[in-house]
Every structure is written in structure tokens, then in C-alpha cells.
């Protein structure tokens, strides 16, 4: 059995997505009033196109992958939490946490925490500068939005 190349793996994943998409497209209800083109036609065409394109991709010879060779190999040896992929995952989790904590903590606190935390995590050691810049930028943005532009942002636990 020959092993699949990258394009073939991608093609299989995309074909699955296309199939799921088509399954959903067929469940779009018809509009009670007659329409020349109803809501379901376009999705069906899109699903079929994606299916056909993934077939094309399956037979396309993969070019050199642009991104993968750029990963800093030296750093993959370091402590687990500081490897390149760990940095991406931790950042993603931090963003998700930020999204959920934004309203309860308030904009200023949540944003400053995220900014200071990630900066320190990425390896910046001058914590004073870090805190000052983060807080400064966040406060400036917050005051511009709420005071000047009259846009409401969650205040959270802070009194303003």
C-alpha cells in the first residue's frame, strides 16, 4: 500500500467536509413561495465544487510545503511548554479564556492580564516595561472607545 502524500490527506479531509456540507445543504427547507432559485441551490453547487476540487487536489503533486520547514527546529528540543507548538496552543487557550473572562472581569483587567501574561510567557523579562506598556495601551484604547466614542465596554470588577 502506497502512503498518501500531503495533498492526498488534505484532499480526503476536504472531501469529508464537502460531503458533510452537502448533507446539510440537502436539509435546507424549500421556501413556501415558488422561487426560480431557492436557498438550497447555491450551497449544493458549492458543495459539489468543493468535492470536485478536492479530487483535483488528490492528483496534484504536492509542492514544497511553505510553512513546515520554517519551524525553528532548535526550539523543539527545549522544555515542553516552550516548544513552538506549545506556544501556539497556550496562546489559543489564553484567547479562549480571555473571551470567557472578558465580561466578568471587565475589559481593562482581562486585556491587561492577557497582554502581560503572554508577553512574559513569550520570554520577555523586563516585567516593569511589560506591565507599563500593556496597561498603557489597554487604558488608552479603553478610554478612547468608552469616553470619546461612547462605545460601551464591560467594566467588570473595576469601578469604571
Amino acid at each position: 500500500m502506497t502512503r498518501f502524500n500531503t495533498n492526498q490527506w488534505l484532499a480526503l479531509v476536504l472531501a469529508l467536509v464537502a460531503a458533510a456540507y452537502l448533507a446539510m445543504a440537502w436539509q435546507i427547507p424549500n421556501f413556501p413561495l415558488p422561487r426560480p432559485v431557492d436557498s438550497d441551490l447555491f450551497p449544493k453547487v458549492l458543495g459539489v465544487s468543493l468535492l470536485l476540487l478536492s479530487a483535483c487536489l488528490f492528483f496534484e503533486r504536492p509542492g514544497p510545503i511553505a510553512g513546515a520547514d520554517q519551524i525553528d527546529q532548535a526550539e523543539t528540543q527545549g522544555p515542553l511548554l516552550l516548544t513552538p507548538w506549545a506556544r501556539v496552543i497556550v496562546t489559543a487557550i489564553a484567547i479562549a479564556a480571555y473571551a470567557f473572562l472578558l465580561v466578568p472581569l471587565g475589559f481593562v483587567l482581562a486585556s491587561t492580564l492577557l497582554c502581560v501574561g503572554l508577553t512574559a510567557y513569550y520570554g520577555y523579562r523586563r516585567h516593569g516595561v511589560n506591565l507599563a506598556t500593556s496597561l498603557g495601551v489597554v487604558l488608552a484604547l479603553y478610554l478612547t472607545m468608552t469616553r470619546v466614542m461612547d462605545v460601551y465596554l464591560p467594566t467588570g470588577v473595576l469601578p469604571f
Binding site: 456540507y21 436557498s39 487536489l57 511553505a66 470567557f100 503572554l118 513569550y122 520577555y124
Partner: protein, 499 residues
């Protein structure tokens, strides 16, 4: 001569000290607003209505117009420096602007953006002054069938935007259209692909996708490549000066794109985004060094910037001569004018020449202010790249989040932003181009809606698209622009084999 007299009259109004102050305040505020994603010109103008409430109408419009084109002018900054386009019109600017910044040419990219914006803005004001009343006929001649054809033409740019693998580019485009039709289908009120979530009823906002796929994905990518503190900060901003040959290089693209941008701007609903994408892909196709587009070609910055500023001026044509808004931003401007007691429309030139000519004249002044204001600011703003990289990365993240949250106030959209960031990272790692996805996202929904609207009007008769001359010619151009590069490729191949 008539136009000249009118313009002098307009300058008489625009040069009143109070109005000069308003132009300055408007473009200054606009520049700042444009730089902050999420604070688009629409919400900025909506929030200004109470301020302009009691103002003289010409002053009010001068101020608000200044904010509008100032925001488009300033919008390129975050595209170039951070790969974070805050307005749809400046997405195309990031394709070459951001690579230039990475190569240490941030100063030059910003300067080119400023000069091109200035020229685009100024050329289009000349058009606005000379042929606005005539153009109102062009604007209304575009019905659903014509829009469909225009969107098809716009989508042909996908081919030139997907460089390495056409298949991957097309896949990205199909996915872009798929995202664009999420939400309530305007033609029937049916929900599509919302997974039962009320947060998806209005679809996915452009800004969420663009910031995710461009800016957030870039941050993730830099983290993968080693975002640690040991890497030296990129402090090269480079010179702002353009060489004579560079000026020569961008002169053609800037003037072509200014005209193109102005005319797309005149069409209600088309606007800056299509103008900038069409300008970019047109230049990429006709340039001899087309294959360096996307890698930091100065023409790739000049063309979209000239186009989007010209389109912004163009969008004043339907607003002022017909009284119909061509975009969300001009809709708010229309509302503001009505509140001030001015009826934009066919009679406006006669009833309120002060407003019309005052604003036109103020745009000349405003564009000069913008140039004078922006050029000295460039080295200051570009200093943001001097920040230590860890700090810069977290600040970009915060910047994206406030951009998204300030627009929709929705935690769901923040999670969506994260999702698109990860999708964007995957696309980069596996060689899928992001530009076709964004273009298809912007155009896909309008294309479907106008196609179905046209068919609903014609009673299901598909010949409506080729019966109408404008629609037919646009479709022919679309076919040609797809076919010609292929022919060209085949011919060069044949030439090569002949050798």
C-alpha cells in the same frame, strides 16, 4: 469654466476658517479611527450624528466626509505594519505592504500608501467635480443582473491571487463563498448553516475572518517560527524616500487604479473593496514582474491604495446626486444630512450648492492635510515595529480582540476569531492562499443575492444576464480575463518548445 466657477465658490466655503478647522479635525480623527480596527468609519460617523446635529450642513458634511476618507487613508497602516486590515477596503494593501514591512521597508510601504491615497483621492475629486451629475445615471443603471456580472468579474481575480496552486486557490475561494452565505438568506428568510445558533443569524462578519486569517494566523506563525525573546527586534523601518524609478513604476498603477476605483465606488454597494481587489489583480496581470506581487512589490501597495481612496470619493456620487446611500458608511452620512435638514438628491445641486461644492472643495484640502499629516507620522507609527517582539505579538492579539469585540460586543465572535486564526495558520502551513478566501467572502454573498434577485425579477429567465448590455459586457470581460492568461501561457510554452 462652469465647473471652475463652482469650484471657486466651493473653495470660498471650504476655506472659511471654521471649515478648515473641521476638515482638519475630520481627517485627523479619521486617520486615528482608520488605524484602530473595529472602530470602522460607520460606527464613528453614527456616533458623530449628535455632534453635527446643530451644525451648518456644509460644515457638518465637510467634517464627516473628512472622517470617512481619513479613515480609509489611515486604514492602510495596520494592514501594512501588522497584517491586520481593519476595513475591507485595505485588505488588498496587506498583500504586498506587509511583506515590505517584514523586509524592513515599512517606511517606504507607508509612504507609498500615503502618496497613492493622496493621488487616488485627488484624481477622484476631479472626476466628482466634473461628471458627478452624469454619473448618477451610471449608478442607477446597475440592477441585480449587472451586479451579478460585476461580482463574477471580481471573482476572476481569484485566479491571479492564487499563485502556486490554482486548485488550492479555488478551494480557498469556494470556502470563502461558503462562509459568506452563512446566516439568514435575504431572499427567503431561511436560515442556512447556522447550526441553530443565534450568533450566526447575521452571518460571519468580514472583520472576524480577516483579522483571524491574516493577523492572528500571522501571530501563530511567528510563534511557530520562534517568537522567543532571543530574536532581535526588527528595527528597520527604512527610508521614506522613493527613488525616481520607483515613482515611475507606480505612476501607471496609481493612475489606472484611481480611475478604476472611482468608477467602482460610484456603483452603490460595490465600493472600495472590489475596486482595490480589481486594481490589484489588474496590475498583477499586466505587470512584467507580476510574479513578485505578494512578495513586497511596491505596485501591489500603490494600486489598491489609490483605488480604495478613489472609490471612497466615488461613493459620494450616488449619495449627493441621487440621495441613495451606496454603502453602510454613506447610509449614515445620508441620515446625518437629513437630520441637518438637507435633502441629498437630484435637486441638491440647485437647492444646496453650498453643501455640494463646499464638500468637493474641502476634499482637495482634506487630501493635502492627510498627506502632510501622515508623512511625518510614519516614522513615529512605524516605531511600533521597534517594540520587543513578545510585546508586539501580544499587543497585536489585544488589538484584534478589541477590534472584533468593539464591533459586535459578542464573546462568540471572539471565539470565532480564534477559530479563523487557527484555520489561517493551517492554510499557511499547507500552502493555501488566504487572499482568494477573503475576496470570495466579500463578493460571494452579493453575487448569490443579486443573481437570485435578477432571476426573481425576470421570472426565472436566465437570459436576463446576457440580454442587458452592461451585464453582457462585464461577463465577456470576465471570460476574457480568465482566458487570456491561459492563452498567453500556452503561447509562451509553444515558443519555448519551438526554441
Amino acid at each position: 469654466m462652469d465647473a471652475f466657477n463652482n469650484l471657486m465658490y466651493g473653495f470660498g466655503i471650504a476655506l472659511e476658517p471654521i471649515n478648515i478647522a473641521y476638515v482638519f479635525a475630520g481627517v485627523f480623527a479619521g486617520t486615528i479611527i482608520g488605524m484602530l480596527p473595529g472602530l470602522g468609519p460607520i460606527s464613528a460617523l453614527a456616533l458623530m450624528i449628535p455632534i453635527t446635529f446643530a451644525m451648518e450642513p456644509s460644515s457638518g458634511l465637510i467634517l464627516m466626509a473628512g472622517v470617512y476618507y481619513g479613515a480609509i487613508f489611515g486604514g492602510s497602516t495596520s494592514s501594512i505594519l501588522l497584517n491586520a486590515p481593519g476595513v475591507a477596503g485595505t485588505v488588498a494593501t496587506s498583500f504586498d505592504g506587509y511583506p515590505m514591512a517584514k523586509q524592513g521597508l515599512a517606511g517606504k510601504a507607508l509612504a507609498i500608501a500615503a502618496y497613492s491615497s493622496f493621488v487616488g483621492g485627488t484624481i477622484s475629486v476631479v472626476f466628482l467635480m466634473l461628471i458627478a451629475p452624469l454619473l448618477s445615471k451610471v449608478a442607477v443603471s446597475f440592477g441585480p443582473a449587472e451586479y451579478f456580472a460585476l461580482m463574477v468579474l471580481g471573482l476572476t481575480a481569484v485566479v491571479s491571487l492564487s499563485d502556486k496552486s490554482l486548485v488550492k486557490g479555488l478551494i480557498a475561494a469556494v470556502i470563502g463563498v461558503m462562509i459568506s452565505i452563512i446566516g439568514i438568506d435575504m431572499q427567503t428568510g431561511t436560515e442556512r448553516f447556522t447550526f441553530g445558533s443565534i450568533h450566526l443569524l447575521d452571518g460571519v462578519d468580514f472583520l472576524v475572518v480577516a483579522l483571524g486569517i491574516f493577523a492572528l494566523a500571522e501571530v501563530f506563525y511567528m510563534l511557530l517560527r520562534g517568537g522567543g525573546g532571543k530574536e532581535a527586534p526588527r528595527n528597520a523601518i527604512g527610508s521614506l524616500k522613493l527613488t525616481r524609478s520607483e515613482v515611475k513604476q507606480i505612476a501607471g498603477p496609481v493612475s489606472r487604479s484611481s480611475v478604476l476605483g472611482f468608477f467602482t465606488g460610484v456603483l452603490p454597494g460595490a465600493g472600495a473593496t472590489i475596486g482595490s481587489f480589481l486594481g490589484y489583480s489588474m496590475e498583477k496581470r499586466i505587470a512584467k514582474d507580476g510574479d513578485t506581487f505578494g512578495k513586497g512589490n511596491i505596485k501591489g501597495v500603490a494600486a489598491p491604495e489609490a483605488a480604495n481612496n478613489a472609490a471612497c470619493t466615488g461613493s459620494f456620487v450616488p449619495l449627493l446626486t441621487l440621495g441613495v446611500p451606496g454603502s453602510g458608511t454613506t447610509a449614515v452620512l445620508l441620515g446625518a444630512l437629513l437630520v441637518m435638514g438637507v435633502n441629498p438628491g437630484p435637486m441638491m445641486l440647485e437647492q444646496r450648492p453650498d453643501v455640494f461644492w463646499g464638500v468637493v472643495a474641502s476634499m482637495y484640502i482634506g487630501n493635502i492635510f492627510l498627506l502632510v499629516l501622515n508623512l511625518p507620522l510614519i516614522p513615529l507609527i512605524a516605531k511600533i515595529l521597534d517594540l520587543p517582539k513578545p510585546l508586539l505579538l501580544s499587543l497585536i492579539l489585544i488589538f484584534c480582540m478589541i477590534g472584533v469585540y468593539g464591533m459586535s460586543f459578542s464573546v462568540f465572535d471572539l471565539l470565532l476569531l480564534l477559530g479563523f486564526g487557527l484555520v489561517g495558520l493551517g492554510m499557511r502551513l499547507f500552502g493555501f492562499p488566504a487572499a482568494p478566501l477573503i475576496l470570495a467572502l466579500i463578493l460571494g454573498n452579493i453575487m448569490e443575492e443579486s443573481m437570485r434577485r435578477a432571476l426573481q425579477i425576470s421570472g426565472g429567465d436566465w437570459t436576463t444576464f446576457i440580454d442587458k448590455p452592461i451585464s453582457l459586457s462585464l461577463l465577456v470581460i470576465a471570460v476574457l480575463s480568465l482566458g487570456l492568461p491561459l492563452l498567453k501561457k500556452r503561447r509562451t510554452k509553444r515558443l519555448n518548445t519551438a526554441e
